[in-house]
Homo-oligomer: 334 residues x 2
C-alpha cells in the first residue's frame, strides 16, 4: 500500500511508494564526471573571459583577475537579474510587475576543472561557504534585495551548462513563493507549539535514527520524512539560526567536512549523479527569527518529474526515505 506523507513545514503531500521501492541500481542514471577537453571560461588563465571578479581567495597574493586563485566569485555572464536601475513597481490592469533588479553571481569553487564537490578538500568546501557568506553580507547592503539564495546545479539534468564546479548566488527584490510558504508554515508551528519546527525535526530524527545517515558536531544529515524525490537529503544545523550568514567559524569549518562527506556518500551510492543543492535561509533584510532555521537541501536528479507533479505540487517518491538513508548510512568511504 503506498503511503501519503505530509511535509510538516509546508503542508505538501507526497506519495511514497512502498511496494516496489526503487533501489539505487534501478535508476537510469547520468554519471556526471567532468570530461574536460573543451575551452572552459572558468579555468585559470581564462580570467578575462568572465566579468571582473567581485571576490577571490588568492593564497599567494596574486593580482585580481589573474591566475593564482583558489576560489573566485564573478558576476554571471548572462545574469537573470541586474543591479542597475529602479524597481519601478507598476500595475497593468489586474497584473503587477517590476523591473528585474537583483544580482546573479557565480562562485568558481576550485581552479581544477576535473574536480567535483565531493573531490574537494574540506578547506575548499569550507571556503565556498565563506565566500557565499561574504557575498550575502555585501549584497544585503542594498536594501531592495530581500532574498539571497546560494544554490548549485551539477550536471545537465540539474540545469548546469558549465561542467567546471561552481555554485550560484541570486539576490531577488521579492521573497519567492516557496520560501514564503516555508516561512509561513514554520511560523504557524511556532505560534501553535512555541517551538521551532526544524529544531523539533532534528530532535525527532536523531532520536528515531531511521532517516539519519550522518551526524557531525554541528549538523544532522537525513532523508526527510516527506521526501519529494528519491534520495532527497537535508543537512540541518543543530544550532537554531534563521540566517545562514550569521554562522560562526566552528560551524563553517564543520560544514566543510559534513557536506563533503554527504556528497561522497551520494556519489558512491548513486554513482556521481546530477543534483541540485540549495541553501534555504531567511529573508536578508529581516532580523533573527525564532521560527525559521536555515538548512541545506540536496536533490539528486534520478527520475524525470511526471506529468501531474508540476501542476499539483503533489510528488510521487519511488524510494522511501528510510531505504535511501540506509543506503547512504552504509556507504563506506575510502
Amino acid at each position: 500500500m503506498p503511503e501519503l506523507r505530509k511535509d510538516p513545514v509546508t503542508g505538501r503531500w507526497v506519495i511514497v511508494t512502498t511496494d516496489r521501492a526503487m533501489r539505487p541500481a534501478d535508476f537510469i542514471r547520468e554519471h556526471v564526471v567532468p570530461a574536460g577537453g573543451r575551452f572552459c571560461p572558468l579555468c585559470p588563465g581564462h580570467e578575462e573571459k568572465t566579468a571582473p571578479e567581485v571576490l577571490a581567495y588568492r593564497p599567494g597574493g596574486s593580482l585580481p583577475n589573474s591566475t593564482g586563485w583558489s576560489l573566485r566569485v564573478v558576476p554571471a555572464k548572462f545574469p537573470v537579474l541586474r543591479v542597475e536601475g529602479d524597481l519601478n513597481r507598476l500595475g497593468d490592469g489586474i497584473y503587477d510587475k517590476m523591473n528585474g533588479v537583483g544580482a546573479h553571481e557565480v562562485v568558481i569553487e576550485t581552479p581544477d576543472h576535473m574536480l567535483t564537490l565531493g573531490d574537494l578538500s574540506e578547506k575548499q568546501v569550507e571556503d565556498v561557504f565563506w565566500a557565499s557568506r561574504d557575498r550575502i553580507v555585501d549584497l544585503r547592503r542594498d536594501i531592495r534585495l530581500r532574498s539571497i539564495f546560494v544554490f548549485k546545479g551539477h550536471g545537465e539534468a540539474a540545469g548546469a551548462t558549465l561542467e567546471h564546479s561552481h555554485s550560484q548566488i541570486i539576490a531577488l527584490p521579492v521573497v519567492p513563493k516557496s520560501a514564503m510558504e516555508e516561512l509561513e508554515g514554520a511560523k504557524r508551528y511556532l505560534d501553535y507549539r512555541e517551538r521551532c519546527i526544524y529544531c523539533d525535526i532534528v530532535r525527532q530524527e536523531t532520536e528515531g535514527g531511521l532517516r539519519v545517515f550522518l551526524e557531525t558536531e554541528h549538523y544532522v544529515a537525513f532523508c526527510p520524512y516527506a521526501s519529494r524525490f528519491a534520495f532527497e537529503t537535508w543537512i540541518v544545523p543543530r544550532r537554531h539560526r534563521s540566517h545562514f550568514e550569521t554562522v560562526e567559524i566552528p560551524e563553517v569549518k564543520n560544514l566543510g567536512w559534513t557536506l563533503r562527506t554527504v556528497m561522497r556518500k551520494i556519489d558512491k551510492v548513486l554513482e556521481r549523479p546530477a543534483y541540485n543543492l540549495m541553501v534555504h535561509s531567511a529573508p536578508v533584510q529581516e532580523g533573527a527569527m525564532a521560527h525559521y532555521h536555515w538548512h541545506i537541501e540536496i536533490v539528486p536528479k534520478l527520475t524525470r518529474v511526471a506529468g501531474f507533479e508540476w501542476g499539483t505540487g503533489f510528488y510521487v517518491n519511488p524510494t522511501p526515505p528510510e531505504e535511501a538513508a540506509r543506503f547512504l548510512r552504509e556507504a563506506g568511504l575510502v
Copy 2:
C-alpha cells in the same frame, strides 16, 4: 532589463527575459513523434495486457476488452494509489500520514499508435473529455476522493513512458498544495473585488489581445502574463464554472476543436515538442464556487528547470508570453 511579473492568482513571481528573448528555433528540442515498431500494451489486439477496462467507446458494439474500440479507460498498470483499504490517518510525532487510497487510470485516446493529440479528429479529442468527465462523475461517488485531475504527459521529457497517445486520471484523498493555492488566491480576489479572477483575466486578455492566440465560441487560448515556461498556454472557458465535470454538450464539442487547434499550432511552431497538459478543476466533493474557474494549462518542455526554481518556486522564462503568442497566432494551419 528583465521584468519581474506576478501571477495574479497564486502570487508567484516570474523573471521574464526581455533582452535576449528565445525564439522557437533557439530551443534544443526533442521532436516527439511516435516511432512504433515495439510491442505496445495500449494497441488494439493487446487488450489483455492492460487491467480490465472501466469504460470504452465501441462504435460497432464489440465486447468489453476486445478490439473494436475508439477509446478505452483502464486502471494504471503501476498505480501510484489504490482504491482498496482505509485511509487510516495517523500521526508519527510531528509527522502525519495516511494510506495511499485513490485511483489512477489511463485514457487510451485512440487505437492508432502513430497519432498524437493534434492528429486526432475533433470528435476523438471531444471523446477524451467525455470519457474524463464520465470517470470523474463515477469516481467522485467515493467521498474519500477529494481531488481528481486529468493530465497528460507527451514525450519522455514530460515523464511519459509509453508513446501511444494517452491521458491519465488521478483521484486523491487530499487537495494538493498547488491546487489549494490556486483556490485560496482566487478566493482572496473574490473577497476583495467580488469578481472571479479568471473571468477578469479572460476579459483583460481578450480586450488587450497581446497574449491571446485563439478565440473560439466557448474558449480563449493565451500565453499567461506570468508564464513560468516558454510557450506556456492556458485554455480558459468563457463561461464561469468551477468544475470541469459540469460542462455541457456544446462546451465539450467546442473543446474538441479548440484543443486540437491549439495543439496543432504548438506542434507547428515548436516542431512537435514534448509537453504536459493538465485540467485544473475544483475539488470534486465541493459545490459550485463563485471564485474558482476550471481551465487547461499546457507546458511545452523546451528547457530544463534550472537549479533554483525547484527550491524557490521562482521561475525564469526566456520567452515573453507576448512573443510566444505572436508565433502561435501567426502559425497557419493546413
